[in-house]
């Protein structure tokens, strides 16, 4: 079974000048979700007798994330050569080009690709879906739990409103996972060996993103339904909230912890938040 772990080398903590919108970033790396993806890849490889290939699309410094993967137990690593400056034009683009780059590094269609749910800079989470489209694979995005039932892999993913969907994955499949699962600790000989391993890289000709204009973001005014009262005077009262009945704010205390708990639970009780009586 061939498993691919896609690890980004993305800009961390981009600063935006609040007046001009100019961008500044000095530090790149892999994020927690991607390390979780790598750990899942390694676990599944152990369980299902697979091999893990770590792939990154980035500049030579990105070899560092591949060495992390090799030290932790990935069998192979490859880098697709591409430089991405921290500018608005690059941020506006999304995973389509990255997915194309990743597939150029693959000689065969893998059975499973594991990604993070979003990178730290692009952060739209679109790369995995584009990868699935390119590979003709099934997809499971925003996965919070991965398990196997015998041979098939089951993925629990977030849906709207807090529900979850359990998916059975065919092969090939692309999965993006949230952070939370910690990457195992590599042994010392593995760390040293990974540092000595030369990393293969392949060239890639990227297409530029769209032309853009960037500025600091100001939240857009939210649209509210107009007031419905029959007279202008009432409509104004409704809009401004004047004369609306409201419980006056109360401040109590200083209270001891039991008194405070009484006050808190009493308030919740009065306002219908405690359906069952608590002792």
């Amino acid at each position: 079974m061939q498993i691919v772990a896609a690890l980004s080398w993305s800009w961390q903590r981009i600063e935006v000048d609040p007046l001009t919108g100019a961008l500044d970033a000095d530090h790149r790396g892999v994020n927690a979700a991607e390390l979780a993806a790598l750990e899942h890849a390694l676990r599944l490889a152990e369980e299902l007798d697979g091999r893990v290939l770590a792939v990154t699309v980035g500049p030579p410094e990105a070899d560092e994330v591949l060495r992390t993967a090799l030290a932790a137990g990935a069998h192979e690593a490859i880098r697709v050569e591409r430089e991405t400056p921290p500018d608005a034009r690059w941020l506006a683009s999304n995973g389509a080009e990255t997915a194309r780059a990743i597939t150029t590094a693959l000689t065969t269609t893998p059975d499973l690709v594991l990604c993070g749910d979003r990178s730290s800079d692009g952060a739209t989470g679109a790369t995995p879906a584009f990868l699935a489209a390119r590979l003709g694979a099934a997809q499971a995005l925003g996965v919070v739990k991965l398990e196997t039932d015998g041979r098939a892999i089951l993925a629990h993913r977030r849906l709207d409103g807090g529900s979850r969907e359990v998916l059975r994955l065919p092969a090939p499949a692309v999965v993006s996972v949230e952070g939370g699962t910690r990457l195992r600790r590599a042994s010392l000989p593995a760390v040293l060996a990974a540092q000595r391993t030369p990393i293969r890289s392949v060239p890639f000709e990227t297409r530029p993103g769209p032309m853009v204009v960037a500025r600091p973001r100001r939240p857009r005014p939210r649209e509210l339904p107009p007031p419905v009262a029959p007279t202008a005077h009432r409509r104004i009262l409704e809009l401004t909230g004047a004369l609306v009945e409201r419980t006056p704010p109360t401040i109590v205390g200083p209270l001891s912890a039991p008194e405070a708990a009484d006050a808190l639970l009493g308030y919740l009780q009065r306002h219908g938040y405690l359906n069952v009586e608590q002792s």
């Binding site: 590599a186 042994s187 010392l188 040293l192 540092q195």
Partner: protein, 431 residues
Amino acid sequence: MSAERVDAVVVGAGPAGSAAALELARAGRSVVLLERGPFPGAKNVYGGVVYGRVLDEVLPNWWEEVPVQRWVTRRSTMVLTGTQALTVDFRTQDWGSAPHNGMTTYRADFDSWLAGKAVEAGAQLVTSTVATELLREGGRVVGVRTDRPDGDIRADVVIACDGVNSFLAKQAGLLPTTDPAHHTLGVKETLALPRRAIEERFGLRGDEGADFEVLGCTGGIPGGGFLYTNRDTISVGVVLSLTGLAESGRRPEDVLADFKAHPAIAPYLRGAELKEYSAHMIPEGGYRSMPPLSTDGMLIAGDAAAMCLAAGIWLEGVNFAIGSGLAAGRAAAEAIATGSRDLTGYRKRLEDDFVLTDHKNLQRAPHLVLSDRVQRQYPKLLCDLAQEVFTVRNPEPKPGLRKLFRRTAARHGIRLRELVADAWAGFRTFG
């Protein structure tokens, strides 16, 4: 599985460790540099000024690429009392251009840069890895154990550069358990302030920087304070004698808060936003309390060997760490090359070098600077004297300077004999 084996293991990628690893790698030796943090300098604390000339030995024209914040062109020494301040303010544009003198730099940047030089030369840096134990055979140190799986690594020489209170030096029996009398505590805050504001308040331009050292600002606890400018932050901190601190019953952050609130200091910091607080011990014993520097199979360098030159508030640790690290690396490389187990060449190198020469010459400094007279009496004396001199009392006639001096000294209960003795000691120490 048999343990990894290399020529040398260096523990701690601070300035000392990186310098040692660099020299070993340059000598063609296989060397592994272990660092506990996620990257070199991740958690390292210091005031903020590095005297870089020692880097001449590492890299020609190092100043063109070192990650500097500001080049120090202004040094002030201040003496404070509760309400007074007397400042000796020195500035020279010469330090603003190569080869420079002091620079302010962030340790995360500086330590990573120096470790990067070692890696470029061929050293293997392994981060997020703690050396937990020395491996020994007979009496000889033959490697270290780390907290990674299969974490043993064997080497001809182990160099412990794991900082003040070195765990490894203690395990090797080179360092006695911590002696509070020979340590001070440094606490420091990094405060953010717009670049323009820093330049206006400290009278700086471009990449010029200022470095203030302050006596008499620690509420009677032996120690001192400092203030350094970075590009858009200020480092402000106090260094406190551990015994004095314990006796006073005060918390170090309160002493620092008082220092920041002093009328002579507060205007520099107004409106600055706290970014970071940190605390760290400093070896302050100097030459007299330096441990033996080697044992069979192992050397110690930097703060681990109490190499920090700490005369109270004048702190030079990084340059001494680099100097001793370079010497340790060379001595180890030489021993490995000749197959000799004799590592005593290290001490010899240090003695021929600025490292031990300066330490020997300044061996009385910590004692003097932390003495009660320098800490409590002289600040008051000097400030009162200045106040007398500068106060105009017409219609009373001006008293002569000598008279003023004698009168002020007497008021502070300082005998001339002590003053002369201290002046002589000071002259011999710093002169």
